[in-house]
Protein backbone atom coordinates (compact mmCIF):
# COMPACT_ATOMS: atom_id res chain seq x y z
CA UNK A 1 0.00 0.00 0.00
CA UNK A 2 2.75 2.39 0.99
CA UNK A 3 4.59 1.61 -2.23
CA UNK A 4 1.38 2.30 -4.23
CA UNK A 5 0.94 5.65 -2.50
CA UNK A 6 4.57 6.53 -3.21
CA UNK A 7 4.17 5.65 -6.89
CA UNK A 8 0.98 7.70 -7.32
CA UNK A 9 1.51 10.64 -4.98
CA UNK A 10 1.57 13.27 -7.74
CA UNK A 11 -1.81 12.19 -9.10
CA UNK A 12 -3.31 11.93 -5.62
CA UNK A 13 -2.12 15.42 -4.67
CA UNK A 14 -3.52 16.78 -7.96
CA UNK A 15 -6.94 15.22 -7.23
CA UNK A 16 -6.88 16.47 -3.63
CA UNK A 17 -6.23 20.03 -4.83
CA UNK A 18 -8.24 20.20 -8.05
CA UNK A 19 -11.45 18.55 -6.84
CA UNK A 20 -12.22 21.00 -3.99
CA UNK A 21 -10.95 23.89 -6.12
CA UNK A 22 -13.36 22.99 -8.94
CA UNK A 23 -16.30 22.67 -6.54
CA UNK A 24 -15.36 25.91 -4.76
CA UNK A 25 -14.97 27.94 -7.94
CA UNK A 26 -18.25 26.63 -9.35
CA UNK A 27 -20.16 27.50 -6.18
CA UNK A 28 -18.47 30.90 -5.84
CA UNK A 29 -19.32 31.83 -9.44
CA UNK A 30 -22.95 30.79 -9.11
CA UNK A 31 -23.52 32.50 -5.77
CA UNK A 32 -21.73 35.71 -6.72
CA UNK A 33 -23.86 36.07 -9.86
CA UNK A 34 -27.00 35.29 -7.78
CA UNK A 35 -26.25 37.88 -5.11
CA UNK A 36 -24.75 40.37 -7.58
CA UNK A 37 -28.10 40.78 -9.32
CA UNK A 38 -30.13 41.57 -6.22
CA UNK A 39 -30.08 44.00 -3.32
CA UNK A 40 -27.98 41.93 -0.96
CA UNK A 41 -25.32 44.30 0.36
CA UNK A 42 -26.90 47.03 2.52
CA UNK A 43 -25.06 50.25 3.21
CA UNK A 44 -26.57 50.89 6.63
CA UNK A 45 -26.79 54.42 7.97
CA UNK A 46 -28.44 55.94 11.03
CA UNK A 47 -31.60 57.87 10.40
CA UNK A 48 -30.00 61.22 11.32
CA UNK A 49 -27.03 60.80 8.97
CA UNK A 50 -26.77 62.06 5.38
CA UNK A 51 -25.38 59.56 2.93
CA UNK A 52 -24.06 59.87 -0.61
CA UNK A 53 -25.41 57.07 -2.71
CA UNK A 54 -26.02 56.66 -6.43
CA UNK A 55 -25.00 60.23 -7.37
CA UNK A 56 -27.25 61.84 -4.77
CA UNK A 57 -27.14 62.83 -1.11
CA UNK A 58 -29.89 61.22 0.96
CA UNK A 59 -31.13 62.56 4.25
CA UNK A 60 -33.99 61.13 6.25
CA UNK A 61 -36.06 64.02 7.56
CA UNK A 62 -39.11 62.45 9.21
CA UNK A 63 -40.69 59.13 10.19
CA UNK A 64 -44.26 58.81 11.40
CA UNK A 65 -46.36 55.79 12.34
CA UNK A 66 -50.16 55.92 12.31
CA UNK A 67 -52.26 53.13 13.80
CA UNK A 68 -55.45 51.91 12.13
CA UNK A 69 -57.05 52.11 15.56
CA UNK A 70 -56.37 55.87 15.81
CA UNK A 71 -58.75 58.53 14.53
CA UNK A 72 -56.22 59.51 11.84
CA UNK A 73 -55.91 55.83 10.82
CA UNK A 74 -59.68 55.56 10.53
CA UNK A 75 -59.78 58.72 8.37
CA UNK A 76 -57.15 57.29 6.07
CA UNK A 77 -59.12 54.06 5.86
CA UNK A 78 -56.33 51.80 7.04
CA UNK A 79 -57.26 48.11 7.14
CA UNK A 80 -57.82 46.60 10.57
CA UNK A 81 -54.62 45.27 12.11
CA UNK A 82 -52.34 47.61 10.22
CA UNK A 83 -50.20 50.73 10.71
CA UNK A 84 -49.18 53.34 8.17
CA UNK A 85 -45.48 54.23 8.29
CA UNK A 86 -44.69 57.49 6.52
CA UNK A 87 -41.05 58.15 5.71
CA UNK A 88 -39.80 61.48 4.38
CA UNK A 89 -36.36 61.96 2.86
CA UNK A 90 -34.50 64.76 1.12
CA UNK A 91 -32.75 63.72 -2.07
CA UNK A 92 -30.11 66.01 -3.54
CA UNK A 93 -28.67 64.93 -6.90
CA UNK A 94 -24.95 65.71 -6.73
CA UNK A 95 -24.80 67.39 -10.14
CA UNK A 96 -21.94 65.19 -11.26
CA UNK A 97 -23.57 64.85 -14.62
CA UNK A 98 -24.72 61.33 -13.99
CA UNK A 99 -28.41 60.70 -14.22
CA UNK A 100 -30.14 61.12 -10.87
CA UNK A 101 -31.33 57.79 -9.54
CA UNK A 102 -34.65 56.07 -10.08
CA UNK A 103 -35.22 53.74 -7.18
CA UNK A 104 -37.31 51.08 -5.51
CA UNK A 105 -38.32 51.78 -1.91
CA UNK A 106 -39.04 49.05 0.59
CA UNK A 107 -39.71 49.13 4.31
CA UNK A 108 -37.81 46.34 6.02
CA UNK A 109 -38.52 44.80 9.40
CA UNK A 110 -35.16 43.91 10.90
CA UNK A 111 -33.90 41.46 13.47
CA UNK A 112 -30.37 42.71 13.94
CA UNK A 113 -29.08 42.78 10.38
CA UNK A 114 -31.51 40.16 9.09
CA UNK A 115 -34.58 41.24 7.12
CA UNK A 116 -37.55 39.33 8.51
CA UNK A 117 -40.35 40.95 6.46
CA UNK A 118 -40.71 43.75 3.93
CA UNK A 119 -43.42 45.98 2.51
CA UNK A 120 -43.61 47.99 -0.69
CA UNK A 121 -44.88 51.55 -0.87
CA UNK A 122 -48.63 51.88 -0.63
CA UNK A 123 -49.16 53.70 -3.93
CA UNK A 124 -51.66 51.12 -5.18
CA UNK A 125 -53.21 50.20 -1.83
CA UNK A 126 -56.90 51.01 -1.37
CA UNK A 127 -56.47 53.73 1.27
CA UNK A 128 -57.20 57.44 1.34
CA UNK A 129 -53.75 58.70 2.21
CA UNK A 130 -52.83 61.92 0.44
CA UNK A 131 -49.13 62.71 0.33
CA UNK A 132 -47.92 66.09 1.56
CA UNK A 133 -48.09 68.69 -1.17
CA UNK A 134 -44.79 69.32 -2.94
CA UNK A 135 -43.39 65.86 -2.24
CA UNK A 136 -42.80 62.95 -4.59
CA UNK A 137 -43.82 59.39 -3.77
CA UNK A 138 -40.91 57.84 -5.63
CA UNK A 139 -37.48 58.85 -6.93
CA UNK A 140 -37.39 61.18 -9.91
CA UNK A 141 -34.73 60.09 -12.36
CA UNK A 142 -35.02 63.39 -14.27
CA UNK A 143 -34.55 65.66 -11.27
CA UNK A 144 -31.42 67.79 -11.08
CA UNK A 145 -32.55 69.92 -8.12
CA UNK A 146 -33.09 68.62 -4.57
CA UNK A 147 -36.56 67.28 -3.86
CA UNK A 148 -38.49 65.72 -0.98
CA UNK A 149 -39.51 62.12 -1.16
CA UNK A 150 -42.46 60.95 0.94
CA UNK A 151 -43.28 57.29 0.92
CA UNK A 152 -46.04 55.57 2.86
CA UNK A 153 -46.12 51.89 3.75
CA UNK A 154 -49.09 49.92 5.11
CA UNK A 155 -47.55 47.39 7.50
CA UNK A 156 -48.95 44.79 9.86
CA UNK A 157 -49.53 46.29 13.31
CA UNK A 158 -47.34 43.62 14.88
CA UNK A 159 -44.32 44.88 12.92
CA UNK A 160 -41.55 45.79 15.33
CA UNK A 161 -40.10 49.28 15.63
CA UNK A 162 -36.78 47.98 14.29
CA UNK A 163 -37.45 49.14 10.75
CA UNK A 164 -35.27 50.19 7.86
CA UNK A 165 -35.96 52.11 4.68
CA UNK A 166 -34.28 50.29 1.79
CA UNK A 167 -33.43 52.37 -1.27
CA UNK A 168 -32.46 50.23 -4.24
CA UNK A 169 -30.96 51.76 -7.38
CA UNK A 170 -30.35 49.23 -10.14
CA UNK A 171 -27.00 50.68 -11.19
CA UNK A 172 -25.65 50.20 -7.64
CA UNK A 173 -26.59 46.55 -7.16
CA UNK A 174 -25.82 44.56 -5.11
CA UNK A 175 -25.33 47.58 -2.81
CA UNK A 176 -28.38 49.38 -1.52
CA UNK A 177 -28.99 52.11 1.01
CA UNK A 178 -30.63 51.21 4.32
CA UNK A 179 -31.72 53.90 6.76
CA UNK A 180 -32.31 52.55 10.26
CA UNK A 181 -35.50 54.32 11.30
Amino acid sequence: MRRWLRRNWIGLVAVAVLLPATVGITFATQWSSYFGGRASDPVTVRSDTAENFAHAAWTLTDVRRVSAASSEGAEIGLPEGSDLVIVTARVSPDGSGAEAPGCILLLEELDGTTVTRSWGASATDPIDYAATEGTLSTCDSDALEPYTLESAFVVADDASDDLGLAVTVSSELPRYLRFRL
Binding site: A68, P79, E80, G81, R117, W119, T124, P126, V155, A156
Partner: protein
Protein backbone atom coordinates in the same frame (compact mmCIF):
# COMPACT_ATOMS: atom_id res chain seq x y z
CA UNK B 1 11.81 -12.17 -13.43
CA UNK B 2 8.09 -11.44 -13.34
CA UNK B 3 5.89 -11.48 -10.31
CA UNK B 4 2.35 -12.76 -10.64
CA UNK B 5 -0.48 -10.96 -8.88
CA UNK B 6 -1.99 -13.20 -6.23
CA UNK B 7 -5.48 -14.53 -6.93
CA UNK B 8 -7.01 -12.93 -3.84
CA UNK B 9 -6.19 -9.48 -5.20
CA UNK B 10 -8.09 -10.20 -8.40
CA UNK B 11 -11.04 -11.34 -6.31
CA UNK B 12 -10.94 -8.23 -4.11
CA UNK B 13 -10.68 -5.93 -7.15
CA UNK B 14 -13.61 -7.66 -8.82
CA UNK B 15 -15.72 -7.49 -5.66
CA UNK B 16 -14.86 -3.80 -5.25
CA UNK B 17 -15.92 -3.09 -8.81
CA UNK B 18 -19.23 -4.90 -8.29
CA UNK B 19 -19.91 -2.92 -5.10
CA UNK B 20 -19.22 0.38 -6.91
CA UNK B 21 -21.53 -0.60 -9.77
CA UNK B 22 -24.30 -1.59 -7.36
CA UNK B 23 -23.98 1.71 -5.45
CA UNK B 24 -24.01 3.66 -8.74
CA UNK B 25 -27.12 1.76 -9.85
CA UNK B 26 -28.94 2.46 -6.57
CA UNK B 27 -28.03 6.16 -6.72
CA UNK B 28 -29.12 6.43 -10.37
CA UNK B 29 -32.47 4.80 -9.68
CA UNK B 30 -33.32 6.60 -6.45
CA UNK B 31 -32.05 10.13 -7.16
CA UNK B 32 -34.97 12.53 -7.71
CA UNK B 33 -35.52 13.68 -11.27
CA UNK B 34 -35.14 17.35 -12.18
CA UNK B 35 -38.91 17.68 -12.13
CA UNK B 36 -39.07 16.19 -8.64
CA UNK B 37 -36.23 18.38 -7.38
CA UNK B 38 -38.04 21.53 -8.52
CA UNK B 39 -41.58 20.45 -7.64
CA UNK B 40 -43.73 22.63 -5.41
CA UNK B 41 -43.52 21.76 -1.71
CA UNK B 42 -47.03 20.82 -0.58
CA UNK B 43 -48.31 22.02 2.79
CA UNK B 44 -51.54 20.19 3.54
CA UNK B 45 -54.40 21.32 5.71
CA UNK B 46 -58.16 21.17 6.10
CA UNK B 47 -61.05 23.55 5.57
CA UNK B 48 -61.24 25.88 8.57
CA UNK B 49 -57.58 25.43 9.41
CA UNK B 50 -54.96 28.16 8.93
CA UNK B 51 -52.18 26.76 6.78
CA UNK B 52 -48.77 28.37 6.58
CA UNK B 53 -46.15 28.09 3.84
CA UNK B 54 -42.90 29.96 3.23
CA UNK B 55 -44.49 33.17 2.00
CA UNK B 56 -48.21 32.44 2.15
CA UNK B 57 -50.77 31.85 4.86
CA UNK B 58 -54.38 30.95 4.08
CA UNK B 59 -57.60 29.81 5.69
CA UNK B 60 -60.43 28.34 3.64
CA UNK B 61 -63.65 29.03 5.53
CA UNK B 62 -66.02 27.19 3.25
CA UNK B 63 -66.78 25.85 -0.19
CA UNK B 64 -70.12 26.27 -1.96
CA UNK B 65 -71.41 25.20 -5.35
CA UNK B 66 -74.08 26.97 -7.41
CA UNK B 67 -75.57 27.18 -10.87
CA UNK B 68 -74.96 30.92 -10.97
CA UNK B 69 -73.21 33.63 -8.99
CA UNK B 70 -74.07 37.21 -8.16
CA UNK B 71 -70.89 38.99 -7.22
CA UNK B 72 -70.62 41.97 -4.89
CA UNK B 73 -69.80 44.30 -7.79
CA UNK B 74 -72.96 43.35 -9.65
CA UNK B 75 -71.29 40.87 -11.97
CA UNK B 76 -73.46 37.85 -12.67
CA UNK B 77 -71.79 34.69 -13.81
CA UNK B 78 -73.82 32.79 -16.36
CA UNK B 79 -72.33 29.37 -17.05
CA UNK B 80 -73.36 26.15 -18.69
CA UNK B 81 -71.58 24.37 -15.82
CA UNK B 82 -71.46 25.27 -12.15
CA UNK B 83 -69.53 27.68 -9.96
CA UNK B 84 -67.47 26.44 -7.06
CA UNK B 85 -67.17 29.38 -4.68
CA UNK B 86 -64.38 29.25 -2.10
CA UNK B 87 -64.46 31.70 0.79
CA UNK B 88 -60.88 32.23 1.88
CA UNK B 89 -58.50 34.52 3.68
CA UNK B 90 -54.96 34.84 2.29
CA UNK B 91 -51.87 36.86 3.21
CA UNK B 92 -48.15 36.95 2.45
CA UNK B 93 -45.69 36.23 5.25
CA UNK B 94 -42.27 37.57 4.23
CA UNK B 95 -42.55 39.82 1.17
CA UNK B 96 -45.46 41.16 -0.82
CA UNK B 97 -46.48 38.93 -3.71
CA UNK B 98 -49.50 38.26 -5.89
CA UNK B 99 -51.80 35.33 -5.25
CA UNK B 100 -50.41 33.98 -8.49
CA UNK B 101 -51.67 30.43 -8.21
CA UNK B 102 -55.21 29.67 -7.00
CA UNK B 103 -56.46 26.47 -8.55
CA UNK B 104 -58.93 23.68 -8.03
CA UNK B 105 -57.68 20.26 -9.06
CA UNK B 106 -60.24 17.60 -9.91
CA UNK B 107 -58.73 14.36 -11.08
CA UNK B 108 -55.98 15.25 -13.53
CA UNK B 109 -57.46 18.60 -14.49
CA UNK B 110 -56.80 21.91 -12.72
CA UNK B 111 -59.06 24.96 -12.97
CA UNK B 112 -57.79 28.48 -12.31
CA UNK B 113 -59.80 30.85 -10.17
CA UNK B 114 -61.84 33.01 -12.53
CA UNK B 115 -60.79 36.62 -13.01
CA UNK B 116 -64.04 37.40 -14.87
CA UNK B 117 -65.69 38.85 -11.73
CA UNK B 118 -62.90 41.47 -11.53
CA UNK B 119 -62.44 43.08 -8.11
CA UNK B 120 -65.24 40.96 -6.62
CA UNK B 121 -62.81 38.10 -5.92
CA UNK B 122 -59.36 37.83 -4.40
CA UNK B 123 -57.96 36.02 -7.46
CA UNK B 124 -54.67 37.63 -8.54
CA UNK B 125 -54.82 40.00 -5.57
CA UNK B 126 -51.54 41.52 -4.44
CA UNK B 127 -51.00 40.00 -1.00
CA UNK B 128 -49.75 42.18 1.85
CA UNK B 129 -47.46 40.84 4.52
CA UNK B 130 -49.43 40.11 7.67
CA UNK B 131 -52.60 41.87 6.46
CA UNK B 132 -54.98 39.29 4.95
CA UNK B 133 -57.40 39.67 2.08
CA UNK B 134 -60.68 37.87 2.80
CA UNK B 135 -63.15 37.13 0.05
CA UNK B 136 -64.39 34.66 -2.53
CA UNK B 137 -62.59 32.74 -5.24
CA UNK B 138 -64.75 31.37 -8.07
CA UNK B 139 -64.03 28.32 -10.16
CA UNK B 140 -66.13 27.45 -13.22
CA UNK B 141 -66.46 23.67 -13.67
CA UNK B 142 -68.48 21.32 -15.90
CA UNK B 143 -71.56 20.06 -14.01
CA UNK B 144 -70.75 16.42 -14.70
CA UNK B 145 -67.29 16.80 -13.19
CA UNK B 146 -68.65 17.99 -9.85
CA UNK B 147 -70.78 14.83 -9.67
CA UNK B 148 -67.93 12.52 -10.71
CA UNK B 149 -65.94 10.24 -8.42
CA UNK B 150 -62.84 12.36 -8.96
CA UNK B 151 -64.64 15.32 -7.35
CA UNK B 152 -64.65 13.48 -4.01
CA UNK B 153 -60.91 14.01 -3.85
CA UNK B 154 -60.65 17.50 -5.33
CA UNK B 155 -57.87 19.75 -4.05
CA UNK B 156 -57.59 23.50 -3.63
CA UNK B 157 -54.05 24.68 -4.33
CA UNK B 158 -52.65 28.11 -3.44
CA UNK B 159 -49.19 29.59 -4.03
CA UNK B 160 -47.79 33.09 -4.28
CA UNK B 161 -46.35 32.74 -7.73
CA UNK B 162 -47.64 31.34 -10.98
CA UNK B 163 -44.32 29.48 -11.15
CA UNK B 164 -44.71 27.17 -8.17
CA UNK B 165 -41.35 25.43 -8.46
CA UNK B 166 -39.45 24.85 -5.22
CA UNK B 167 -41.83 26.93 -3.14
CA UNK B 168 -44.70 26.18 -0.77
CA UNK B 169 -48.04 25.18 -2.21
CA UNK B 170 -50.97 25.08 0.20
CA UNK B 171 -53.18 22.06 -0.51
CA UNK B 172 -56.68 21.66 0.95
CA UNK B 173 -58.79 18.59 0.06
CA UNK B 174 -62.43 19.17 -0.84
CA UNK B 175 -65.20 16.62 -1.36
CA UNK B 176 -67.31 18.36 -4.02
CA UNK B 177 -69.76 15.43 -4.13
CA UNK B 178 -70.90 16.17 -0.61
CA UNK B 179 -71.84 19.81 -1.31
CA UNK B 180 -75.42 20.62 -2.34
CA UNK B 181 -75.74 22.70 -5.49
CA UNK B 182 -77.51 26.02 -4.86
CA UNK B 183 -79.41 27.84 -7.53
CA UNK B 184 -77.56 31.08 -6.92
CA UNK B 185 -74.84 32.33 -4.59
CA UNK B 186 -74.34 35.96 -3.63
CA UNK B 187 -70.76 36.73 -2.68
CA UNK B 188 -69.40 39.29 -0.25
CA UNK B 189 -67.05 42.11 -1.21
CA UNK B 190 -63.37 41.23 -0.58
CA UNK B 191 -62.10 42.84 2.61
CA UNK B 192 -58.53 43.86 3.37
CA UNK B 193 -57.49 43.65 7.01
CA UNK B 194 -57.50 41.44 10.09
CA UNK B 195 -60.59 39.28 10.44
Amino acid sequence: MTRTTPLWRHVVNGAGLVVILVIAGVVAHTAPSEEQQQAAIPVRGQIGETITGRNIRATVDGVRVAESVEASNGWAGPTSGVWVVVDASVEARVAEAPLGYARLKVGDVTYSASTRPGQATIAATSLSVGIPWTGPLMFELPSALVASDAARHAELQFAVDDDTRADSMLVIPVDLNSIDIDEVIETERPVWGAR
